[in-house]
Amino acid sequence: MSGLEFMGYRRKDGSVGVRNHLLVVSAVSCANHVARRIAEQVKNAVSITHPYGCGHIGEDFLRVWGTLSGLGANPNVAGVLVVGLGCENVTASLIAGEIAKTGKPVEWINIQDEGGSLKAVQRGCELLVEMAGDALDVEREPCGLNELVLGTECGGSDATSGLASNPAVGVVADIVVDAGGTVILPESSEWIGAEHILASRAVNSEVAKKCYDAVEYYVKRAMELGIDFRGAQPTPGNIAGGITTIEEKSLGTICKAGSRPVQDVLGYGEKPKGKGLYLMNEPGLDIESITGLAAAGCQVIIFTTGRGTPAGSPVSPVVKVTANKETFNKMRCDIDVDVSSIIEGEETIEDAGRRILNEVLMVASGKPTKSELIGNMEVAILRAAKYMF
């Protein structure tokens, strides 16, 4: 295995997974308990539970259906059981039908049809064990960076984020894209002031317009609430800290996706159609973001933080990176990579980036992340109709 390869699981549809999960997807909050109980009893099973599934209409319905289906379709998942109640509108059969298009084994049950929670748990376990025999009988094999879809995210940021951890992750992003792989940058609400820079990297004028439109949406929404995003940036605190312009502030977050051409602007949880750098139009709330990235097919997510976060996903390992030494020491159980050496003047951004890439490759080859060791597996879905219900 050369330096820039990882050991992954090759799937029937040609994609590559870095985990071999059996995923128990709850279709609706009413089925969460049963989904959790089933996952607790079968090897390699993880559950996806959430407060959604009922009462969705229009775009919001498509958003919840698409996200839950996307999580099941992620190449880190070997097989899926969807558990519904039976009267929800994002049904177990709809989700299972979408995931089945990948060719992986998928089953679904409804608690009402099975005769109650306990019988549903038993039936679910039987189906999952049946599926597990074949689904788990796969070996890891060498895979190239061109088969990696890497998500980037930041949260709990501080001054070290824009100075060190984000630019170091940018080094990783450029290496992955140059090797023919894919990188996704979410958090469009944080592109404000630097949208012209992203647009100038767009592969065509249509994609450039999408960069401007994504930012304009948040600026307008804020204006409706009486807040002038552009006028209030950078804040007096930012200026005291050394940030001179809004472009500089936004680049401090955008730089974690590197500097390569922008292929397209995806919707929340949307799978990229090709390789290279993609943007995802969504507001950048940590757990919603990593769920959206996992639903879009990211096998690994790099998460930079200054103040520290325990964030993790049930589907895609989240590699957490900080350049704040104090945070790393205080939250060692949550943070995977310490790049405070950049701030200490002991390591270049380039070298720290290569160290992060090495950790990503080890995680992609099976090394558990801190959030996996601890069992932090949260899911939150960006709602499309926040004020409907």
Binding site: L163, A164, G193, I239, I246, E247, L251, G345
Partner: protein
């Protein structure tokens, strides 16, 4: 120890990650070349200094991208901040107002 970071080899500013005193001479390796810069103001943590002279109207480049425009001539080693740089949006608006 004098500590600073240069984000991209295209940059014409560096960012201090420790306070750097006026008069300090720093060696910057950028794009495979060594550059000696004498710091001309005290630079606090997180603040920027120029790696090269920047003319009025010249681009200030960090992260390999234009983060603003110089409103005063900036010499290598000088503090680069809100007193001598504005956002490209502000610069454009200033130019338009001046032309009217």
């Amino acid at each position: 120890m004098v500590k600073f970071v240069v984000m991209s080899e295209k940059d014409n500013v560096a960012t201090a990650v420790s306070e750097i005193r006026s008069g300090t001479k720093v060696n910057v390796r950028i794009g495979g070349r060594e550059l000696e810069v004498e710091i001309k103001n005290d630079i606090p943590f997180g603040h920027k200094f120029a790696l090269r002279d920047i003319d009025v109207g010249g681009n200030v480049v960090k992260y390999g991208e234009v983060i603003g425009v110089a409103t005063k001539p900036i010499k290598a080693g000088e503090h680069v901040h809100v007193h001598n740089v504005v956002s490209s949006f502000v610069w454009k608006a200033m130019k338009e107002a001046g032309e009217r």
